[in-house]
Symmetry: C2
Subunit: 214 residues, 2 copies
């Protein structure tokens, strides 16, 4: 007799790992494009190339897929902010943070949209993560920025809103991709917009934050 769910076994088989991977990959596609409510198990199953009951053998519920997806993505998503180094040079720290966030928007747009969908719809599944680990990390880095400002390395500014503005400007290129493309027009077929965006944003933030003599 089969043990009810693969997940209950201690050792995971090769097949389990493969299939769960395929499911999460497919789910990322579907959830990021439709949000949690808008996504259906059938869609995910089809995208993963398996039948619905088969998919439900690996994940008991739609929520379980979503939760695991979020958990997995969240930590890598915050990686760039974690790398923010108090000892480093403020200008180059900010510059490379912007660059890394832009690279993520370019290379992992689905992950960005997954979160955007979630937060936009009230973050019903990740409120705790936002108020806990995320807030803690931001608080920590805000203190770093504040210290830089105190020591005159950058101009005085609200560190929280600085972080928000870096998040929003960079993620915009993933989350609002369709709009960005529509406005820039066809001539922007390639990914040159990311380079242009990087140039612009670095200029904006670096010059905007440079400590002023006056």
């Amino acid at each position: 007799m089969a043990i009810p769910r693969a997940a209950k076994t201690q050792r995971r088989t090769r097949i389990q790992e493969e299939k769960e991977e395929r499911i999460l990959e497919a789910a990322l596609d579907v959830f990021s494009q439709n949000g949690f409510r808008g996504a259906t198990i059938d869609q995910i199953a089809e995208a993963a190339g398996m039948s619905k009951p088969n998919l439900l053998y690996y994940f008991r519920t739609k929520e379980a897929i979503h939760r695991q997806l979020i958990d997995r993505v969240l930590s890598t998503w915050l990686e760039p902010l974690r790398a923010f180094d108090a000892e480093g040079n403020p200008e180059s720290e900010i510059r490379s943070y912007i660059r890394r966030k832009l690279e993520m928007a370019r290379d992992f747009p689905r992950e960005s949209r997954l979160f955007a969908n979630e937060v936009l719809q009230g973050a019903p599944h990740i409120e705790d993560e936002l108020k806990g680990p995320l807030k803690a990390l931001v608080d920590e880095k805000a203190e770093v920025i504040r210290a830089w400002a105190r020591s005159g390395k950058i101009t005085k500014c609200d560190p929280y809103h600085l972080i928000f503005s870096i998040w929003s400007t960079t993620q915009h290129y993933a989350d609002f991709d369709v709009q960005v493309r529509a406005v820039l027009g066809q001539d922007y077929a390639g990914e040159g917009r990311f380079e242009d965006a990087a140039r612009f944003l670095e200029q904006l933030f670096i010059d905007g934050l440079r400590a002023r003599k006056a």
Copy 2:
């Protein structure tokens, strides 16, 4: 015998106007929180305080409600950008643009989220609007900004990405409201965050764009 749909009559009755208004108001709530696919007619009907068939007497389909909502909101949404004046002082134009966009994020977050949901999910219903009227408007204002840069009133920068960055930073406070609140914490009960954001963004953009001597 009743004419199939109220909409077919030439003159709209008082009741029609009232009810359609109530429906659109309710739909704004529901669509902005759940996206198109995630929203249900029943939800909208309940929020509007009427039965589903009654609602469907005024709007034949879910799409029809959504379309009308988008149409109505789109024009008012772009109003601030339209107000961008080539003859005005660049600094104050940009400053007041930022301020107006922030006010809209504060006062009309549902409208912002309606669009965000739509664009995020690939803009299936408004692609034409984006590529047409929106692009045209942005192209026009980009030229204004470019002219300012040419005449040395602001520093040289990519006007499109400048506009994107103003959009994203301001709308962030509507679209990612839950996250902003979570990170800022309880002490931010009121709406002071909008004032802080305004201060920060004005500083960032004005100082970041100020024409440099070097």
